[in-house]
């Protein structure tokens, strides 16, 4: 297919919206890394910065939505152009949620720095956050390059994140059973782990949008889930 529209301003608008998505993606990646770094290093100042930076992410989401809305109203996009307009709104929503989770991680860090450190957990959480950030980077690359294969690969990688979460869950349980003084920090750390796992789900959702954008259909196979821990703990959905 010819890449360029006859009306070049249409291309300019589509490119602009996608540039906002990329900028948003960059800020969110930074937020994940900084939040996990502040947790690891017990750096309250950096945590504060992550919380402040979240406003820029929210503003960009609004901008993406406004521009996509205008594009739909004024250009009546069809086929792939329509899918771009719809997917940017969803991707922006996913990025905004990931940004919120990073902000929440920073918030809990500000509380955790004043408590007894829990050995080992912070490094594991940082590795998990790092993995999510790499997945996000690849999802955004897949988006820009219209690479459905790379996007499918991300769906697979989310399993690793789920496994990391399950392992941390057990670890925190053990800590809490050993010493009740660990209960408060471990609860915070557990929420951080859970939120990081949720970030992975939002990255997965972005990857699904890439597949929708490229092929016109969402992937239909059920994503494999690691939820034997649910059975173990008698948890239901």
């Amino acid at each position: 297919m010819n890449d360029k529209h006859i009306v070049s301003s249409f291309d300019a608008e589509l490119e602009q919206i996608q540039a906002h998505i990329m900028k948003m993606g960059g800020l969110v990646e930074e937020a994940i890394l900084d939040a996990s770094k502040s947790l690891k290093n017990r750096d309250e100042e950096l945590a504060e910065q992550v919380r402040a930076n979240d406003k820029a992410i929210d503003a960009l989401e609004q901008r993406v939505n406004d521009e996509a809305f205008k594009l739909i109203a004024l250009r009546s996009p069809t086929a792939v152009d329509l899918r771009v307009a719809l997917s940017v709104m969803k991707v922006a929503g996913n990025l905004e949620r990931i940004g919120d989770y990073a902000k929440n991680m920073a918030k809990r860090t500000s509380v955790l720095v004043h408590m007894t450190p829990v050995e080992g957990a912070r490094s594991a959480l940082r590795r998990m956050a790092r993995e999510v950030q790499l997945m996000l980077k690849d999802a955004l690359d897949a988006y820009i390059q219209r690479d459905a294969e790379l996007a499918r690969d991300i769906l697979e990688r989310d399993r690793d994140i789920d496994q990391m979460y399950n392992a941390l869950f057990r670890e925190f349980l053990t800590f809490m059973m050993e010493d009740p003084r660990y209960i408060t920090p471990c609860m915070h750390l557990h929420f951080i782990a859970k939120n990081t796992e949720r970030m992975g789900d939002h990255v997965t959702s972005i990857a699904e949008q890439v597949i929708y954008l490229v092929t016109g259909a969402l992937p239909d196979e059920n994503r494999p889930r690691e939820d034997h821990y649910r059975a173990e703990l008698h948890l239901s959905d």
């Binding site: 297919m1 010819n2 890449d3 360029k4 529209h5 006859i6 009306v7 249409f10 009546s76 996009p77 069809t78 086929a79 792939v80 152009d81 329509l82 899918r83 929708y212 016109g216 259909a217 969402l218 992937p219 239909d220 059920n222 994503r223």
Partner: protein
């Protein structure tokens, strides 16, 4: 995980009204339509889209043998209406056109009264036994053309005195007066303002319950709005023919995608 929406599922399968197989059209040496196979469904609006010169109007005109009037035009292949070959020697083109009505780009009322414009077809085909019956046919046609209320008090006024949108609806009323089974429309709204266009589009949607409507349009938004099936023509080929929702959200052919997204003219 949620299911991918199947937009095409809302289109039900209808009977085949027109079936074209391996249709070729030549204007002298020019091969204008190449190997077109299509099945047009009954009680469905089918839109033909494509860039200028792609053959969509030429193909539309084959469906009621309007091309017979062009000396150098030659049509090959089969076009069946309800299973019968419309190019068979025994078929009278005038009778055929009563069954397959046509509305053109520019409203072209006869220079006669509104009443006579509509009564013309039923008269030459002998559809009315007396004046009362003819009156009834004219009123019914004007009602179906969604113009009755605007003209009922001035049926003797010349049709050419109406506004463009009214003239076009008069022409549609004239076309439906002979109780056609298929209505061909060649850019019926391109000379109309948006309000008149909306009225004609509403009319097309109503006509769908009785007829098979085939519309050629340059406005892709119009095709998307009024049709259930869309055929994309390019350089004389029928490139893609599918449910309208599929054509506009996820076309299979790259040429269709390029055309509907405004990347090729």
């Amino acid at each position: 995980m949620y299911d991918a929406p199947n937009l095409g599922a809302t289109v039900e399968q209808k009977d085949i009204k027109i079936s074209a197989k391996k249709v070729q059209v030549y204007y002298g040496e020019t091969h204008a339509i190449k190997d077109v196979d299509i099945e047009v469904q009954d009680k469905t609006v089918t839109a033909f889209i494509g860039p200028s010169g792609c053959g969509k109007s030429t193909f539309l005109r084959c469906l009621n043998r309007m091309n017979d009037t062009i000396d150098i035009c030659r049509v090959e292949g089969d076009i069946l209406l309800d299973g019968e070959d419309i190019y068979d020697k025994r078929v009278d083109p005038v009778q055929l056109r009563a069954k397959v009505g046509m509305v053109f780009q520019k409203p072209n009322p006869f220079p006669k009264s509104i009443y006579d414009n509509v009564a013309y077809g039923p008269r030459i085909h002998g559809l009315a036994k007396n004046k009362a019956e003819l009156d009834e046919i004219v009123e019914k046609a004007l009602r179906r053309g969604a113009i009755w209320n605007e003209v009922k008090d001035r049926l003797d006024a010349p049709g050419t005195g109406l506004s463009g949108g009214q003239q076009q609806r008069l022409c549609i009323a004239r076309a439906v007066a002979t109780e056609p089974e298929v209505l061909l429309m060649d850019e019926p709204c391109s000379a109309l303002d948006p309000i008149a266009t909306a009225q004609v589009e509403e009319l097309i949607d109503e006509l769908r319950s009785r007829y098979s409507v085939v519309i050629v349009t340059h406005s892709m938004q119009q095709a998307a709005r009024v049709s259930q099936k869309t055929a994309f023509f390019h350089l004389g080929h029928l490139v893609e023919y599918d449910d309208t929702a599929n054509i506009f959200t996820n076309p299979k052919d790259e040429r269709t995608e390029s055309y509907i997204t405004g990347r090729i003219g």
